[in-house]
């Protein structure tokens, strides 16, 4: 009975997170980065002040973890063409020059830390492989069309 109650609460928290926060972020790739940013690097636990206030720490943590896995599962199964589109969307939302963005991502590989914990290792390896390939595709496009405004987003 208690388990079912907690489950309902987690679902409500997930719904809240989906509708009020994630819906405002364009693209699943951006959502994935946002959700990973809620995770403490050392403890691996998620923190979201609004959700904790409304649902309590444990329910909020579970809701974010489940949402993180849900979004990751969608991203890992999308094609390279779709992933390229999503990364483009995310890069545009950061208001950084694409060349800078691509360079930083190539060197630091931040996509390695946006994978949720407790998932399938094969899926996480496929994700890393796909993101690297999508970045290579974007860099290829940039080198072929350096004057294309799509790849030279103005700093704001």
């Amino acid at each position: 009975m208690l388990g079912r109650l907690v489950h309902v609460e987690v679902e409500a928290a997930q719904e809240n997170l989906r509708n009020l926060t994630l819906a405002k972020i364009p693209g699943d790739f951006g959502r994935l980065i946002y959700l990973a940013s809620l995770r403490d690097y050392n403890a691996g636990e998620y923190h979201h002040a609004g959700l904790i206030q409304q649902f309590g720490a444990e329910v909020a943590r579970d809701a974010i973890l489940l949402s993180h896995r849900e979004v990751f599962n969608r991203v890992v199964r999308c094609s390279i063409a779709e992933l390229v589109r999503q990364i483009e969307l995310y890069a545009a939302s950061t208001h950084t020059l694409f060349a800078d963005f691509a360079h930083t991502w190539e060197k630091l590989e931040p996509y390695r830390v946006i994978v949720p914990l407790g998932g399938d290792p094969l899926a996480s390896r496929l994700f890393v492989c796909n993101v690297r390939a999508a970045l290579a595709v974007l860099q290829g496009r940039q080198s072929r069309a350096p004057q294309d405004p799509q790849f030279a987003l103005p700093r704001q």
């Binding site: 896995r69 094609s79 390279i80 063409a81 998932g119 399938d120 492989c129 690297r132 290579a136 595709v137």
Partner: protein, 195 residues
């Protein structure tokens, strides 16, 4: 004549060396991933989603078309090598799951009074077909990469589903079939009442 022979020999050697280098790279990736996996204690939990969809994504030839067309040749080569290593690992997991499914089934059958010979024969033939097909697929992926054998991979997933269904039909057992994301549900075993 001698010059042509030398050129031919040089060309053949180059092709063999290039092929060997690619195979070596794939092997290195497999070893690296194996070592990494051994240290991934955080990854011991259950998988996040249906593995059959992961299989579909791994063998998707449209990915290769995009990367080959738009990325630089070294990046495209690396992509192909990584995907080959991943596809081989996925196949190994699929075969391992099928083997443990059959092993669990064999244990369950030994203690069961309701043994169906025709059902067991059907199961054995499904398992044999599965092993044969995945063996061929493994070799094909090793040689040509995963992007030209998507249909064969899809067929392997179908056979693995049929194998799981055959196990369920013959004797239900609690077995998670990691390769396909399918879990055989436990059912009450009907045993004759002890007098």
């Amino acid at each position: 004549m001698t010059a042509a022979l030398i050129t031919l020999l040089a060309l053949t050697t180059s092709v063999v060396v290039a092929h060997w280098r690619t195979r070596l790279m794939t092997r290195r990736l497999l070893i690296e991933e194996g070592v990494a996996r051994a240290g991934e204690s955080l990854w011991q939990g259950p998988g996040p989603g249906p593995q059959s969809e992961l299989g579909g994504a791994l063998f998707d030839s449209s990915d290769w078309a995009v990367v080959r067309r738009e990325a630089s040749p070294p990046c495209a080569r690396r992509f192909q090598e990584e995907r080959t290593a991943l596809a081989l690992e996925w196949l190994r997991q699929l075969r391992q799951s099928a083997s443990s499914l059959m092993s669990n089934h064999a244990k369950a059958v030994r203690s069961s009074a309701a043994l169906s010979v025709s059902g067991e024969l059907r199961l054995a033939s499904e398992f044999f077909a599965f092993q044969l097909l995945t063996g061929v697929l493994y070799g094909a992926v090793w040689l040509c990469g995963p992007f030209h054998v998507a249909a064969l991979a899809g067929y392997s997933i179908d056979i693995s589903r049929r194998l799981k269904e055959a196990v369920e039909d013959v004797l239900p057992a609690r077995v998670s079939f990691a390769g396909t994301g399918v879990t055989a549900q436990p059912q009450q075993e009907s045993r004759p009442a002890a007098d």
